[in-house]
C-alpha cells in the first residue's frame, strides 16, 4: 500500500527536527488505523456476500414451502376445514342479512314511534279542547273558549262565530277575533259560502290559505258548521290564519271535526242552561208573588 509511505514523506516538512520522533510514531498509528479499516471493510464485504447467499436460500425455501402440502394435515382434515370455512362464510352472510333486517325493523319502529308520538300530541290537543269546551255552562265563557281553541290550537288570526237565528234564518256574529262583529253582516241561510255551509252542514276549505291584507266577510278561508246531529245551529268562519301558519295539518282537520260537534253541544247546552235559569227565576218570582 503506497498511501501510508507517501503520508510519511509528506508529513516531514511540516514538523521541525525536534518533533521528528513523535511525528513518525503518529504516522504508524495512522497506518495501523488504515489497515484496520481495510480489514473491517473486507469483513463487511464477506458478511454481505454471506447474507446475500442466505437470502437466496430463504427465498428458495419459501417458494418450495408454498408449493408443498401442509405438514401434519391430512387431505380429509383439509377438506373438512374447507367445508367449515364455507359454512362459516354462509353463516356470516346470513348474519349480515339478519343485521340488515333488524336495522330496517329499527327504522320502522322509529318511524312508528314518531307517528304514535304525533298521534299522542294530537289526542292531547283534542282532549284539552273537548275538556275546556265542556268545562262550563256559561254561554259567554263557552264562546271565549271557542275563540281560545281557534287561536291557540288551530292558529287563526281573524275569525268569527256566527249563530243561526231560527226565526229569521239568518246567521249573526256573536263572537270574533281580529275583526269587529259589527263588520260582519248578517248572512241569510243558503246565501254565499257561509250561508251554504249552514244549509248543507258541509265544511268549506279554500285551497289558497295565504295571508290576506284585507278580508271580505263573505269570503272565508274556512267555514265549519256547528252541528247537533243533522241540525246546524251556527258556523265558525275563519278569514285569516296566523302569519307563520300556511297550511292545515291532520290535527287541524280533526280539531275542525271536533269543533263542529262539541262547540255545538257546548253552545246549545249553555244556552239551554241560561234559558232554564231565567225561566226558573221568573217562576220563582211568580211563586213569591203568590205566596206573599
Amino acid at each position: 500500500m503506497s498511501g501510508p509511505g507517501k503520508d510519511e514523506t509528506e508529513s516531514g516538512p511540516i514538523h521541525s527536527g525536534e518533533e521528528k520522533g513523535p511525528s513518525l510514531k503518529s504516522g504508524d498509528e495512522v497506518l495501523q488505523i488504515i489497515r484496520k479499516g481495510a480489514e473491517f471493510t473486507q469483513e463487511l464485504l464477506k458478511e454481505n456476500e454471506r447474507l446475500r447467499y442466505r437470502l437466496a436460500q430463504a427465498e428458495e425455501e419459501n417458494f418450495s414451502l408454498k408449493k408443498a402440502p401442509v405438514k401434519g394435515v391430512s387431505g380429509d382434515e383439509l377438506s373438512k376445514l374447507q367445508n367449515r370455512l364455507e359454512s362459516l362464510e354462509i353463516e356470516k352472510k346470513q348474519i349480515l342479512e339478519r343485521f340488515k333486517q333488524v336495522e330496517d325493523e329499527n327504522k320502522d319502529f322509529a318511524n312508528r314511534y314518531l307517528e304514535i308520538e304525533n298521534e299522542n300530541n294530537n289526542l292531547a290537543n283534542l282532549y284539552i279542547a273537548s275538556y275546556q269546551l265542556h268545562s262550563t255552562l256559561d254561554f259567554k265563557e263557552v264562546l271565549r273558549i271557542i275563540l281560545e281553541i281557534i287561536i291557540n290550537l288551530i292558529g287563526a288570526e281573524q275569525f268569527a262565530v256566527m249563530m243561526l237565528d231560527e226565526k229569521t234564518h239568518q246567521l249573526n256574529a256573536v263572537a270574533s277575533e281580529g275583526i269587529e262583529k259589527e263588520d260582519i253582516p248578517p248572512i241569510t241561510l243558503g246565501t254565499g259560502v257561509i250561508g251554504n255551509v249552514a244549509k248543507t252542514g258541509e265544511s268549506y276549505f279554500k285551497e289558497d290559505l295565504s295571508h290576506k291584507g284585507t278580508i271580505d266577510p263573505t269570503d272565508p278561508l274556512v267555514c265549519i258548521p256547528m252541528t247537533i246531529k243533522e241540525r246546524v245551529i251556527g258556523v265558525i268562519v275563519i278569514y285569516n290564519l296566523l302569519q307563520q301558519k300556511d297550511k292545515f295539518t291532520n290535527l287541524d282537520y280533526e280539531l275542525f271535526t271536533l269543533l263542529a260537534g262539541h262547540t255545538a253541544t257546548a253552545v246549545f247546552s249553555s244556552k239551554l242552561y241560561s234559558e232554564s235559569e231565567r225561566k226558573l227565576s221568573t217562576i220563582q218570582g211568580f211563586i213569591d208573588l203568590l205566596t206573599k
Binding site: 300530541n121 292531547a124 282532549y127 275538556y131 268545562s135 273558549i145 291557540n152 292558529g155 296566523l242
Partner: protein, 124 residues
Amino acid sequence: MARFRILVVEDSPTMRQLITFTLKRLKDVEIVEASDGVDGLKKISAGKFDIIFTDINMPIMDGLKLVSLVKNDPANKDIPIVVITTEGGQEDRDRALALGANSYITKPIQAINLLATATQLLKI
C-alpha cells in the same frame, strides 16, 4: 320533591292546560301555573324555579314586562325564560330576546318543540 320546577304563565286556561299537560311528560318535574305577569311574579318570589314559560299578550302584566323584571332581578336573572306568543314576526322575537328571554315559541305550539326547548334549557 321534584328535580325541576317549571312556571307556566298564561292567561288562557286552554293554553295553560295544554302546556302543563305537555310538560308533565318530562320526568321529575313540578309545574306551577300563573294566569298573568303579576301572578307569575308572586309565584317566583314564593319559590325557586328552573325555567319559566310565559305568554306575551296577557292582562294586568304582559310577558315582556315579566321577562324584563325577572332578568333585572339579581336573585332570578339566571332562570331561563321561554316566551310563547301568537306573534310570529322577527321584531317581536328580537324584542323578547333583547329583554333577556332565552328562547321563543310561536303558537300554535307543537308539543315536540315545547319539550325540546324545555329539555335543552333544563339540560336534562
